[in-house]
């Protein structure tokens, strides 16, 4: 157990991964990262509101998340990309059922992107699609969730993006691993910029926003993704404002 003075003078007593009875929204629930984080949180007793964009919905997700055998309540909803009212409605339904939202995890469908997009794709159509699907929907789901967090003056938000936003496409500058795309690199760093600004705006209201930048081989590195998620969702992150854990 840790006991330190939190913001606004509140005492914070919260060990890492003490999640029982908490409520979490996971956007991009059927993505690899969303699914693994969902299963991890469910195993620790977190009630989950899983949100997917229409085309990405994977059948049987709730059952997969519940495989852990926990008693966490899990609901799964689909929202159309860019549907502001849809995000509000889905999050509102979870709040009606549970009373509050403690966590939001935004995990876009990066593996699907990597499979479907050619590296040298220079089309304007795919740029419009990715900007909307990734950056704009992160904005919308955060905006839909945030009012419910400030009611309790507490909440933690995690934005997932990729290291390509810092390096181009490799693990370090100048390296080429054929991992990203021009669209991914721009969106990823855009997510970082958006996150740092939002984090500053809302930390005075008790909500912290931080991020995880996935490396090129993150599919084989899910332990570290879970580790980073635990770090940001736990009480340890209360003073971190718009910080990114880069997993490469």
């Amino acid at each position: 157990m840790r006991r330190i003075n939190g913001i606004r003078g509140k005492t914070m007593i919260e060990p890492i991964a003490d999640y029982k009875g908490r409520n979490c929204v996971v956007f991009g629930a059927s993505s690899l990262v969303g699914r693994e984080i969902g299963r991890h949180l469910a195993r620790h007793g977190v009630n989950l509101c899983l949100i997917d964009l229409g085309p990405y919905r994977h059948d049987g997700l709730v059952e997969k998340v519940r495989e852990s055998g926990s008693e966490a309540r899990v609901i799964h909803q689909t929202v159309a990309s860019g549907d502001e009212d849809g995000f509000k409605r889905v999050v509102g339904e979870a709040v009606d059922e549970w009373g509050s939202i403690d966590y939001l995890v935004c995990a876009y469908y990066l593996e699907d992107e990597a499979e479907s997009r050619a590296l040298d794709d220079l089309s304007l159509d795919s740029w419009d699609e990715l900007l909307q699907g990734w950056v704009m929907n992160y904005f919308l789901v955060t905006r839909a969730t945030f009012p419910h967090m400030i009611r309790g003056e507490k909440g933690r938000v995690v934005f997932v993006n990729t290291s390509t936003g810092y390096t181009g496409e490799g693990e370090g500058e100048g390296e080429i691993t054929m991992g990203g795309s021009i669209h991914e690199s721009a969106c990823s760093s855009a997510v970082t910029g958006m996150m740092t600004s939002i984090a500053r705006d809302i930390i005075p209201r008790g909500v912290s926003v931080n991020g995880i930048a996935l490396g090129p081989n993150y599919e084989n590195d899910m332990d570290r993704v879970i580790w980073a998620t635990d770090f940001w969702l736990s009480g340890m992150c209360e003073y971190a404002c718009g910080q990114i854990l880069r997993l490469y």
Binding site: W127, D128, G168, S189
Partner: protein
């Protein structure tokens, strides 16, 4: 430094930084398309007064409008063959009121990021084929640090997005002779910064003085200085400088 025969496109060309960049590139011999939503023709005319042959032309365009950008490129391609030097400089700050999260509306967020990031992306994607064909190209970004306090989310998302773009383009297209460079700025002594501080209820002159003092250098960077830096990177032949992102904020970021 000789840019004769090179065609430039400067977005936000009629703004504080853009005018100086256009003037500088024209002075170095490039033909410059001044791209802006208003004021482009006036800037181009003023530049041309100093030369026997036209060195500048207007490219009036709302770069958040994809079809308008495509039409602009088609026009430039017909007139001059294509763009060799692209300066992605245009930006809007977003709404002057209700700009913070969560007050900022989705519509305002979308409009701002469409200009600041998508506009640059459209211009860049449409410039690359010609640059690859020529085996020479320069793409410059007027950017911002990924983390800056007090900057609205869509503006910062757009400007920070340039950093990933700069890195990626450099790695992918250096062998094609296309080099990239980004200058990450905080405060610049332009009319826009006066407008922003005024919208926050501050006396513009006092606020600008305070911003000068805030910098460890004692003064904000000026559009002339930025134009000189861009010209330097545009003229550099070595591909080893490509992908460079320079934080030019007078030490402000590290003070916080």
């Amino acid at each position: 430094m000789d840019l004769r025969g090179r065609v430039s496109l400067v977005t936000g060309g009629a703004g504080g930084i853009g005018i100086k960049v256009c003037e500088r590139l024209a002075a170095l011999g490039s033909f410059v398309y001044v791209c802006d939503i208003k004021g482009a023709a006036a800037v181009a005319d003023r530049i041309n007064l100093g030369y026997r042959e036209p060195r500048a032309g207007p490219a009036r365009c709302d770069i958040s409008d994809r079809e308008a950008v495509e039409a602009m490129y088609a026009h430039m391609s017909r007139e001059k063959g294509g763009v060799d030097i692209l300066v992605n400089n245009a930006a809007v700050y977003g709404p002057l009121k209700a700009r913070d999260f969560p007050e900022i509306s989705y519509a305002d967020f979308l409009k701002t990021i469409q200009v600041d990031l998508s506009g640059a992306m459209y211009c860049t994607l449409l410039a690359i084929p010609h640059m690859k064909q020529e085996g020479w190209g320069r793409i410059i970004f007027t950017a911002a640090p990924m983390s800056s306090s007090g900057i609205p989310a869509p503006y910062l998302a757009g400007k920070a997005g340039f950093i990933g773009l700069t890195k990626y383009l450099s790695q992918r297209f250096s062998e094609d002779g296309i080099h990239t460079f980004a200058l990450a700025l905080r405060h610049v002594d332009t009319p826009l910064i006066r407008k922003v501080v005024e919208s926050r209820g501050h006396d513009p002159e006092k606020a600008v003085k305070s911003l000068h003092e805030k910098s460890l250098t004692g003064k904000m960077i000026t559009p002339d200085e930025i134009a000189a830096i861009y010209a330097y990177f545009i003229s550099t032949a070595s591909p080893r400088t490509s992908g460079t992102v320079i934080l030019a904020d007078g030490g402000i970021t590290y003070l916080r």
